[in-house]
Symmetry: C2
Subunit: 415 residues, 2 copies
């Protein structure tokens, strides 16, 4: 169907620049946290652009924002493309915004070329992907996929003390002309363009990643308890130092988990001790473990390994370890037919690509539970994201949008 | 000189109990921080007991409190015995109080037995040994030894926001009948009874430790800098994780420093990471190192070893380490003649003793810089101190006071 349509690269880049000014930080990043005044400004800007084009604008009870370009069969579920508009507190200009604005660019390019698609194509901006102002992240897509807002979110407050439900109400009210639709309205597919947020495409000099799935993630909280004592008076044989036990456990894990399996990820992002006094042997050490693996069984095995090693090393130093799972996100596999459409698009456009897995969560993870979903990655400089210095080469941004358009057209052929 | 004088054990134990009520905490400990209302009450109580006996009371500009029982030669520098009255915020009843009240008991026992000593014997209660309300600790004895209050202390504020100098003024004013004397007035010797604050006497079932010196202490602050990155997207070869480097360094140090030298102490009491996010590889790890050794050269060698290992492990993981010394307390050796007097006292009393080193600082460390000094330790249960559960067997408290009296008498023979 109509191959050869080009997106308008200048328009996309200009728009990325304009949206980067909404919540701009001094060092060139963006602070546009979920449901904040800045987030509302960005939504209003996009809704205004939609109105100029005559595209219908919808919201659901999670304030997910949909912009619809009608297709031949209005009653058939739309094909969804998009990402999110919210950012980290000191985030970059591309994380989320690229995928959302490229999706809008696809609608405009289809419009400019006067293409009639078999079903409607909708751009979506999911609410609160980042999870920094309200936890957890990916609230919008998660609620969309389960067609309900979890009861416990009604009491969730933002980092600045506001209730989620109040901020949702005010955000929805800020777009009075948008029509309300039911949460989880059926779609016929979902495709998301995003920056890689890792260094591999850039280092391998490949402009496009076709994302086959998302690693599963488990978060563990390990607490090792020993006995605090005086640093000067307590000789070695009397010590029950939980940091010695934790160090031994971490050393063992660092030396085995990732070196033995290149698909595994092990990160200790937080560690703290009590009483945290220079001249006191700690009585307690707590640390977080972020484990990732594309294979669910391997992930479970890694969790058991962490538990066993922490317990063994604790006992070896007269301490006790408890390991508690605080988060569990099973691996996701994207839909083969949609992946084939994306690969076909790359081939048709003559673009080098790399099949890959995503190490980060994305809204697509939740969409994959209710429809065929897939993702396209473009490189970002030094793999840097969640950082004001986040940067995407203009040619890669444009190429990503072109891939999104081409893949969408090929996918629509199959509907 | 007059061997066979017995201290009044019941009086001492009763007084320990009464002083434990000044700042008593619900769990049986004491909160009597330096220069607080509770500290002033304890000082006033002691000054009142002195007045009842006709002992002269003195204070100096650091509010060190002296109670003097005159000797044959009033112009000769007095022999000083004592400790401190201030406690940790959730401290025990014996740390400091035992040595101070036992010293007062020695004065009373001498008085009861009508002994005329060749020079005056003075009890001292040093100001702010603990360093918890005002930092650093051992302010009173430190200033006494250097005969000056360091200029930077004029702006020191307490944990509750009060200026040290104002609290000193108010504390001095609370004992209007005490005479002021010059800071660092010469003394002819210093002997301090203290609880061990470690488990070795109790475990070896020895009632008396004769302290030959105090370990030297160095505090280092190590900062390892790498690069923060996404826990999910960053594969092993792209990681520059400073916690991996720090873990390797700590593992190496834990496995070598103390296992290779039973006189060495290595404690990591604080560790923190930035940005401390579960799903972010840390960009920076900071930890404290508390190193102790009785030998100054060995201490210097250990510091070099920590520095070399941290730097080597950091480089091995693409990180950088900086090691900064934040505190340096050289080892102290107590005076052989005074130690002989204490050993002779133990022999004369038929008490088992153990020559030992102190792992903790004490006021005696500073006194050793200006006079012959030594210390006597008694066991405390489970080695526990700086803890409301701190406990000393009554018989050990009495034995410690008897040793203080006997040692003082023998030392005075040599003056």
């Amino acid at each position: 169907m109509n191959p050869g349509i080009k997106i308008n690269g200048d328009r996309l880049l200009g728009r990325l620049g304009r949206f980067a000014r909404i919540g701009a930080t001094p060092a060139g990043g963006v602070n546009r946290q979920a449901l904040s005044p800045e987030d509302r400004l960005a939504r209003a800007e996009l809704a205004g652009l939609a109105a100029d084009r005559g595209f219908a604008v919808f919201q659901d009870s999670m304030a997910n924002l949909f912009i619809r370009r009608e297709g031949r069969s209005p009653s058939h579920p739309p094909f969804l493309i998009g990402s999110h508009l919210d950012s980290q507190p000191m985030g970059g200009r591309f994380d989320g915004a690229l995928g959302t604005l490229a999706a809008f660019e696809v609608l405009e390019s289809l419009d400019d070329a006067d293409i009639q698609t078999p079903v409607a194509v909708e751009m979506v901006a999911w609410t609160n992907e980042e999870g920094s102002r309200f936890a957890p992240g990916a609230m919008g897509s998660m609620a969309f996929a389960s067609r309900a807002i979890p009861a416990e979110w009604h009491t969730v407050r933002s980092s600045d003390g506001k209730l989620l439900k109040d901020e949702l109400t005010d955000t929805l009210a800020a777009l009075p002309h948008a029509r309300m639709r039911r949460l989880g309205t059926p779609v016929s597919g979902y495709l998301e363009l995003h920056i890689e947020q890792g260094p591999s495409l850039e280092r391998e000099n490949i402009p496009i990643g076709i994302v086959h799935g998302i690693q599963g993630t488990r978060w563990l909280e390990v607490v090792v308890t020993g006995q605090t004592a005086h640093a000067g008076t307590t000789q070695l044989s009397f010590r029950r130092d939980p940091l010695v036990a934790a160090t031994e456990a971490l050393q063992t894990l660092y030396n085995s988990v990732m070196p033995n399996d290149e698909q595994a990820r092990l990160t200790i992002g937080r560690i703290s001790v009590e009483p945290a006094s220079i001249n006191a042997i700690p009585g307690k050490v707590s640390f977080s473990v972020d484990l990732r693996h594309p294979d669910a069984q391997e992930l479970a095995r890694l969790e058991n390994q962490v538990q066993a090693i922490c317990e063994e090393k604790a006992v070896g130093h007269g301490c006790e370890a408890t390991v508690r799972r605080t988060f569990d996100m099973p691996p996701a596999q994207f839909a083969p037919p949609l992946l084939q459409a994306v690969e076909q698009a790359a081939t048709r456009l003559g673009i080098a690509y790399k099949p890959m897995l995503s190490g980060a969560f994305h809204d697509a993870l939740f969409l994959a539970r209710v429809t065929d979903a897939a993702m396209i990655f473009v490189p970002c400089r030094d793999g840097l994201s969640h950082n004001e210095a986040e940067y995407v080469e203009p040619e890669h941004a444009v190429l990503g949008a072109q891939m999104l358009l081409e893949s969408t057209l090929i996918a629509l052929d199959g509907i």
